[in-house]
Subunit: 180 residues, 2 copies
């Protein structure tokens, strides 16, 4: 009847766990980064799961459709990959599969034959709007424990974070351009 050596508390195990046990180890920045990562991963995993269970689709497909949904005239693949922050080749495959499912369609561009423009089909639009509503509800559900004020606050602090990161990346790029 004795306890085993396994974990007996109700603590959740995640990327932050190790740091919790070695509080002196690293900087505050690392803690922040790991927590950011944990939050994102938690939510993403749940969204993935629900998209599969209830709509038999995947997050990347949903993301692509979300980008396309508001673009009446469709979008170029390059624009899609930029907004989705994924590689060009990645988008090519996703588009192929969504075309296969009849949710989006390719259209030839007569002005520039290199470019590939895609847009939603009527069915895609209808399917997506249903998914988007559920998706919105899920997010609300998960963030429901925060007051509106907290959410607003978090949003603007994350805005600063985003600025800081973008600044660091631009900085680094400049350093390389003139190494003197």
């Amino acid at each position: 009847m004795t306890d085993t050596l396994s974990l007996t508390t109700h603590d959740h195990i995640d990327a932050e766990y190790a740091l919790r046990e070695n509080p002196h180890d690293h900087k505050a920045e690392l803690r922040l980064w790991l927590r950011l990562l944990t939050c994102t991963n938690l939510m993403e995993a749940e969204i993935r799961k629900r998209l599969r269970e209830r709509f038999d689709t995947t997050l990347p497909r949903f993301d692509l459709m979300a980008q396309l949904y508001r673009a009446e005239d469709g979008m170029l693949l390059g624009e899609l990959s930029q907004r989705m922050m994924v590689s060009n080749g990645n988008v090519t495959g996703l588009v192929d599969r969504l075309v296969q499912e009849g949710l989006i369609e390719r259209q030839v561009t007569e002005t520039d034959r290199r470019a590939a423009r895609v847009r939603m089909t009527a069915r895609g639009r209808s399917v997506f709007s249903e998914m988007a509503e559920a998706h919105g509800d899920w997010i609300s559900e998960m963030l429901g424990g925060l007051s509106e004020g907290d959410q607003e606050h978090l949003w603007s602090r994350l805005g600063e974070l985003k600025t800081s990161v973008r600044g660091a990346l631009a900085e680094q790029k400049n350093q390389r351009r003139r190494p003197k």
Copy 2:
């Protein structure tokens, strides 16, 4: 010499971009979620890139080693997958590759022959500690635009967010157990 129809501002294009143009469209929760995602993706992409450029390795491998680094006695694969928040099968493959590289090693467990325990090799430990230092510097660099107070603040708000999400997931699980 006239401008084309392409983007001429210095705005960055990302997942938040569409919402910025349709401010009435969705709820504040969605904005928050997208910004969270954007921040994480930005940082992750940069870390991935630098890990490849400077250490010729990948983020998943780094993450696995980070979990293992502090565990003197090694860890079970299941524990690894739990902490990394990825599937079991995923860990199997990563471990195989890291063993191949000589950075970690499997050891047989005599008490439970189902279990697979892995630990770092001496070389792995030395390689990782170098990477970890650089990694810490990168994080600091990217978060450097935030004051220490802002970072602390953000960290605790994200703690609330994490609690909210975990609460919602547990809630949902309970609902299913007794649907009445």
